[in-house]
């Protein structure tokens, strides 16, 4: 009975559309053999895609209750967190899912870099992947403002101010991003539209093209450029079921991990944005910390150039690393550069996270200043106490601030 119904529908469809060809195409895609070295390390890309689906679904659900206005945004997120059924879960999956998705993309790029998969003929797949990564960072930047709390307001103020320091057209960009002189309701609308309409379509378009390029050219082998491109039928690893099985192992694992984080570390909301009080120690999300920290050491313009260099290197890397070898051990220089770059990003990220904080180490209190240099608070208190004897009318010498104009 059911079989008959299915065949009736099939016949109806194949009378009108090239159903057989479509099935043949899909079958071919499913059976396509992957190079023999393809392993669990090759599941980060599809894991990112899975997490993107999570972002889209939870994002749509959040939009049901979220109100993008200066008066209502904070309260609506509070409503989601406290009143809406399972609202905390949906917001948690969205906020933490974004972080895990970015981490997954970093791992995916690291795998591609280390295995030389970006080399000829796949240079543009890499470049497109970099643009996907930058777009995802754009999601992070615009999404961070939406809860309209103090941290998000001031991180956006500083972030757009940094954009304003770009020579020639910086103030134009800043004004356009903010929708006015200062971050305000206009900025919220703009970021909301970018976050829920513009960026998603851009991302879906780019990701589709990225996947098409990957499927058309096939996964990169580990052999030198030009060799081992064609995996003969019967050799290698079939995409279905072998590789799909690996993905179906990894997806639930990560999803359970994500759920665990969401439950154990609930996303906070903080205080409502107040344009007249800047809180102490505002910091961007972790993925912006390295460039945030770099910006402190240089005057604004130079800082932008310095933190722009790693992005440019990333983007143009396939045209710089042009040796034929793909195996990491056979191209030590480029692997070394990549490793050093990653370690530098980690270093500046950690310094950025630790800066402007008081910590206790071996029973002694330290203040880590904005440059990441720790100062023993006990000593400076002694110093301050002794200085109180001698008048210091301007009060300028109490803290080891850099001299005037250093940050130009």
């Amino acid at each position: 009975m059911i079989q008959q119904a299915i065949s009736t529908v099939r016949n109806w469809l194949s009378d009108r559309y090239p159903l057989a060809e479509a099935e043949e195409f899909l079958e071919g895609q499913a059976q396509k053999p992957l190079p023999a070295h393809v392993s669990y390390l090759h599941t980060f890309g599809s894991l990112a895609l899975f997490l993107m689906a999570n972002q889209i679904i939870t994002g749509i659900l959040l939009m049901v209750y979220y109100r993008p206005t200066g008066n209502a945004a904070f309260e609506s997120v509070k409503f989601i967190m406290t009143k809406a059924q399972l609202g905390w879960l949906i917001r948690g999956l969205h906020a933490w899912g974004a972080n895990i998705m970015i981490a997954t993309l970093v791992l995916h790029m690291l795998r591609t870099f280390m295995m030389g998969s970006f080399k000829k003929p796949r240079e543009l797949t890499w470049v497109l992947g970099c643009f996907i990564f930058f777009t995802v960072l754009g999601f992070g930047f615009t999404g961070y403002l939406l809860p309209w709390n103090q941290l998000s307001y001031w991180a956006t103020t500083v972030g757009t101010e940094v954009a304003g320091a770009i020579p020639w057209f910086g103030s134009f960009i800043k004004y356009l991003l903010r929708g006015g002189e200062a971050v305000g309701e206009e900025t919220l609308s703009r970021f909301y539209v970018a976050h829920v309409v513009v960026l998603p379509w851009v991302l879906v378009g780019m990701v589709s093209l990225h996947i098409i390029l990957m499927r058309v050219q096939g996964l990169a082998p580990l052999d030198p450029v030009g060799e081992g491109e064609h995996v003969p039928a019967g050799q290698g690893i079939p995409f279905y079921p072998d590789h799909v099985f690996k993905e179906l192992v990894v997806f639930p694992l990560f999803f359970v991990f994500l759920l665990g984080i969401v439950i154990l570390f609930p996303v906070e909301l903080g205080e409502k944005a107040n344009p007249f009080v800047t809180p102490e120690g505002i910091k961007p999300e972790w993925y912006f910390l390295p460039s945030y920290q770099l910006l402190k050491y240089f005057p604004k313009l130079l800082g932008i150039l310095v933190s722009g260099i790693p992005m440019m290197l990333l983007l143009f890397w396939p045209f710089l690393d042009r040796s034929r070898e793909r195996r990491p051990l056979k191209r030590p220089v480029s692997v070394m550069i990549g490793t050093v770059g990653l370690l530098l990003a980690l270093f500046f990220g950690i310094v950025g996270a630790m800066s402007e904080r008081n910590v206790t180490w071996r029973g002694r209190p330290y203040h880590i200043d904005l440059y990441g240099i720790p100062h023993n608070l006990e000593k400076s208190e002694d110093k301050a106490a002794s200085e109180q004897g001698a008048p210091d009318p301007a009060g300028e010498n109490q803290k080891p601030y850099p001299e005037k104009g250093e940050g130009g």
Partner: protein
């Protein structure tokens, strides 16, 4: 095909070529015609309404010597200091470094920025830290026992 194309000099315009060109130009004009209004629409509208030239801070007696008060003018914060019996100062409270809002530190008698440790003197000049320029100053008047800041 290739040799034929070489033989035909590019200058010679066929009917088909002319139509293609016309279509391409039409498409470009149409695209521009859509893009320009969209870009103009996206350009932020200037805040409308009469600009208050004078912001009232409050009675002289409400602001103690050595204290500061924050007031707003068109949504932007202004910090007003009372440094002496008759000495008032007013500055834009937006740090010239990265746009955070500065605070008056009465203990150290400086204006400080919580974001990147910028420090300004009570005159608005940079004392230390990364700010590239002094705070923007506004003239202060006392009219009939009331402190007023002239913002434009």
């Amino acid at each position: 095909m290739a040799p034929d194309e070489k033989e035909q000099p590019e200058k010679k315009m066929t009917r088909r070529g002319a139509l293609d060109l016309l279509l391409a130009m039409g498409g470009a004009i149409w695209g521009l015609g859509m893009a320009v209004p969209a870009a103009v629409y996206l350009w932020p509208a200037r805040s409308s309404g009469p600009a208050e030239a004078v912001v009232k801070v409050g009675a002289v007696n409400d602001l103690a010597v050595g204290a500061a008060k924050m007031v707003q003018s068109r949504g932007r914060p202004i910090i007003v200091l009372r440094l002496g019996a008759d000495e008032f100062k007013a500055f834009s409270a937006i740090c010239t470094h990265l746009g955070c809002v500065v605070e008056w530190d009465p203990a150290r008698t400086v204006i400080s920025c919580p974001c990147h440790a910028g420090v300004f003197s009570p005159d608005g000049q940079v004392v230390s830290g990364p700010p590239p320029a002094p705070l923007k100053a506004y003239p202060v008047m006392v009219v009939g026992g009331e402190v007023r800041v002239k913002v434009s």
